[in-house]
Symmetry: C2
Subunit: 144 residues, 2 copies
């Protein structure tokens, strides 16, 4: 398969609200829940980051389960991330801007052995696109 280009584009609708589209699908992004003075009616950016990771782990988990003949009866995923807002809010350069750590917890129901589930999890980590982009460096350009 050759390289695929993915896109998202839209327009600012105020200080924090942004409405854009990926293909025909609208995604609305709102204020993070760090200030009660601004209404928040949609997930904030970093919540979409965690959702993209959870959704990606789900797809890769099923794909690798098929390769290893694992029957996944059910799969629940919880993603947590810790972030100190001080660099964003106040320009405090002693903190990094983004999540310091992200934790993905899978709750899986399957007849597969613990050893096979370990192997499955190792491959999932290695082949998950969003995990790769969060765990490792990516060339990122921002321009006017």
């Amino acid at each position: 398969m050759s390289t695929v280009k993915f896109s998202f584009s839209g327009e600012s609708q105020g200080i924090s609200r942004f409405v854009g589209k990926a293909r025909d699908f609208q995604i609305t992004i709102d204020q993070p829940p760090v200030s009660e003075s601004i209404e928040s009616n949609n997930p904030c950016p970093v919540e979409y980051t965690l959702a993209s990771l959870g959704g990606c782990v789900n797809i890769v988990a099923h794909h690798i389960a098929q390769e290893l003949n694992i029957n996944l009866k059910s799969l629940k995923i919880k993603v947590d991330g810790n972030l100190n807002p001080n660099r964003f809010v106040n320009g405090d350069s002693s903190e990094r801007a983004g999540f310091t750590d992200i934790d993905v917890q899978l709750d899986v129901e399957s007849d597969a052995s613990p050893e096979l589930l370990d192997k499955w999890l190792t491959i999932v980590k290695d082949r998950c696109p969003v995990s790769d982009n969060l765990a490792n460096q990516t060339k990122l350009a921002i321009a006017v």
Copy 2:
């Protein structure tokens, strides 16, 4: 401000569909558009990654504009990312799993000078949480 914990959790609803919540907000994630055999009714994981980046740049852009007394009359944002699906699909380890590069293009209407907009953009890049997590390494744990 102290560290804030953000969370997203939900349940797999088939091979590719995942429905979860961040606070009270539902986010539904679907199949990437790489196979026509599976219906895709929602954005795919990596599209949410790009959306989280675009939405985060929007919020930080407005926040820094206020600090610098820049009046942003309008702001459009387009985010593109290139990804080779071979590692995910076939386990081809010669490719990385995620985006090789991500490009954020801002279309801004403002009376600010080009020099001030350059300064603004430099600070936006530095203080944007999602930009940080994509450009740099983050500690990521995935466990059953």
